[in-house]
Symmetry: C2
Subunit: 422 residues, 2 copies
């Protein structure tokens, strides 16, 4: 008998039939004696429909106040789905009440369309829970100091659910999605990929930032910061599966140092095909060149990921970095127009046919030789490494795009990720 938060995504809320299934699943948990808080997303397609209408009306260059109105607009999707879910819960014979973000004081800053949660007042929700009600709270939105509605950006309902779980000191936050957990790698690339029963929130952060789309990265940060046990599980299992079984399904994202010695050093293989590589060749090797090059790129609002600078030779060096593939052409033009002339570099070359493959694992912190094993495995497969980037819990390499699947499968096997763990 615990306080449990359920979060359901837009697909799970996509029709009245699906909303009815969500209500039945929540009712099962409530009848098992749990105090239930549910955070639903808008019905799938609804947010896009609303923002599409806004786009038809918006001026070419939106001025002051535009983003405030977008949030007024977009927040209605979650308010509607929350009310519908409360109605469906009532049809299951439960007492249920829905609240918009402002009604339970989900306080955020005023950064419209990408606000950050600052605090949540749990008083009203606790009173309802104590009175035996299921409480539905809109995801994705809050209210700022001035009483304006804000939204948290795409995927913000994940963050709402975790923040609400943190405020209520919930036993666990269950995020129901269209996947049944976090995998050692994408099963479409490696059929032997296994679901992880647990993953540390730091590993999950790396997975998320490396392109795994299971959870919004901010929700994982929040879970880590407030130590909210967060479980990812499938909303496509029948609603009436055994609750004990369901409570153990999916992947649990933990925030405690794993004391389990059997835990694998590497937890998963992530990959990302969305980047492109740019090299500035023959740069005079003198202080300030990194700033000279990357400052110009940053000024154009282009995000840079992996950066390497080769050893200098004859007073000149090559400087390489990766950007999102969508920014590639703009970045190359910018460098040719503004940086090449003033820097005295020889040339700008680029490559969009690359990919980034990463091994992720909290165990890497204390294990030497993990990175070198990765390089050996790739070398044995004849894969040339173009760039390397490392952190405490991941090692990433940039390689030719055509070797991506081969690299992922070889690494998955080499680090025994296809073997069941205890």
């Amino acid at each position: 008998m615990a306080l449990i938060v359920h979060k359901y995504g837009g697909t799970s809320m996509g029709s009245t039939e699906r909303i009815r299934n969500v209500a039945k699943r929540v009712a099962k948990w409530a009848r098992a004696g749990h105090q239930m808080v549910v955070v639903p997303s808008a019905m799938s397609g609804e947010t896009n429909r609303l923002l599409g209408l806004a786009k038809e009306l918006a001026p070419a260059t939106p001025g002051a106040g535009h983003y405030r109105e977008l949030d007024m607009l977009a927040s209605t999707g979650e308010q509607a789905s929350s009310a519908l879910l409360a109605i469906a819960l009532q049809a299951e014979g439960l007492e249920a009440v829905s609240y918009a973000g402002w009604q339970v004081q989900v306080k955020t800053d005023s950064a419209y369309t990408k606000a950050r949660i600052e605090s949540i007042d749990d008083e009203r929700v606790r009173a309802d829970l104590d009175a035996g009600r299921v409480v539905v709270i809109t995801g994705f939105q809050g209210v700022d100091e001035g009483g304006n509605i804000t939204t948290l950006g795409r995927g913000g309902s994940d963050t709402s659910a975790v923040a609400i779980a943190a405020a209520l000191k919930a036993h666990e936050c269950l995020t129901f999605t269209d996947v049944d957990g976090v995998y050692t790698t994408d099963p479409r690339v490696e059929p032997d990929a296994r679901r992880l029963k647990t993953v540390s929130f730091e590993e999950m952060l790396e997975m998320a930032s490396l392109g795994s789309k299971v959870l919004q990265i901010r929700s994982v940060e929040f879970a880590g910061k407030y130590k909210v046990p967060l479980r990812v599980l499938s909303s496509f299992t029948p609603w009436d599966i055994d609750i004990e079984e369901e409570a153990k399904s999916g992947t649990l994202i933990t925030f405690e140092e794993d004391e389990n010695m059997e835990k694998a050093v590497v937890s998963g293989i992530a990959f990302n095909r969305d980047e492109a590589k740019i090299s500035v060749l023959g740069v005079p090797d003198k202080p300030g060149i990194a700033y000279h090059i990357l400052g110009a790129v940053a000024d154009a609002n282009i995000e840079v990921d992996v950066i390497i600078q080769n050893l200098s030779k004859d007073g000149r060096t090559d400087f390489s970095f990766t950007v999102h593939r969508n920014d590639y052409a703009r970045a190359v033009d910018l460098l040719k127009d503004k940086v090449l002339p003033t820097l005295g570099a020889a040339d700008i070359v680029g490559d969009t046919k690359i990919c980034k493959v990463s091994i992720v694992g909290i165990g890497m912190r204390s294990h030497v030789g993990v990175a070198s094993k990765m390089f050996r495995v790739l070398s044995e497969e004849g894969i040339n490494i173009q760039m390397i980037s490392t952190s405490e819990i991941k090692t990433s390499v940039v390689i030719d795009e055509k070797y991506m699947e081969l690299a992922v499968r070889a690494l998955h096997k080499a680090f025994d990720l296809d073997q069941p763990t205890a």
Copy 2:
């Protein structure tokens, strides 16, 4: 240079193209130097769509909390259309901000789905107006003392607009609809019907209660109570018509006693085909029979309109009244089952093929002979009057349905309503 409230119905907000036209019309008024507050309805069809989803999910017998959730749901339609209008106004180069009912403290009671406005805090709106912003306020909704969202019932946006105009002491509230004003009678029945330039709010109340659907009756009550000048005009004129012309168009509902001696005694002919007549025949004429009959009807939640009791003859009388046609069968069954046996009446007879025709005019109060002129005109047309009901500003007759058009046209002509007034 005045403070003006515009209200736009769902049809006027029905597409982004129409919302753009509303924005252009409001911008025209703002550029003429007026302080503008706009109250839009939800986009046409949206409220029905939302309530349709709720109906699919709702239990057969909705329990506690159901109507609260319906209001959470339905209120999103106006919030979305308000935000879209603010975005469209910004696209016209204006500063604009939209507020939901709770944000400007449109305080109501807690009667979900049919709440009544209790107060509006004008502070925030005034600050925006003084800063040169156009303020968009959601119609149809408010917030109760407990911070729950409420709605005012169908057509509630009219009431919202008038209440907001009252709170802000607006110069005028302009209600843009799909008709261009209030007519002396329905032009589909009498092609010579004329648009009234002004009509008193008491006359408008009678018109509204007699089936004219131009304005929700509560908005007229509100306008009368708070003396808000209320104008009904068309939203289908081109947005760029001359503002001086537009400001004088439509029909102005006034709250001041009309000092104009040229004003006609009768302002309009209203009619209603939705009623049915029921007669209880041979009722023993003793105290309490009206209560005995109508009490039973009222207990069954059936509303009664016109009531007459014939002169007694041989200690027995006939008692007749009208109900809404939808309630007719139920009322007759009820009377036959419960009232006939205990009352000792002879029979219950009824007629659904009747209609009610009324002459309405504030001038009737001080003019004798208006009602008798009505009866003479009908008599000259060979129309038999079945029932009569009078009030200070209207006289209604119940007649055979087949004479309705004839009666309306004859009265319209007899009271010179086809003649232009000064």
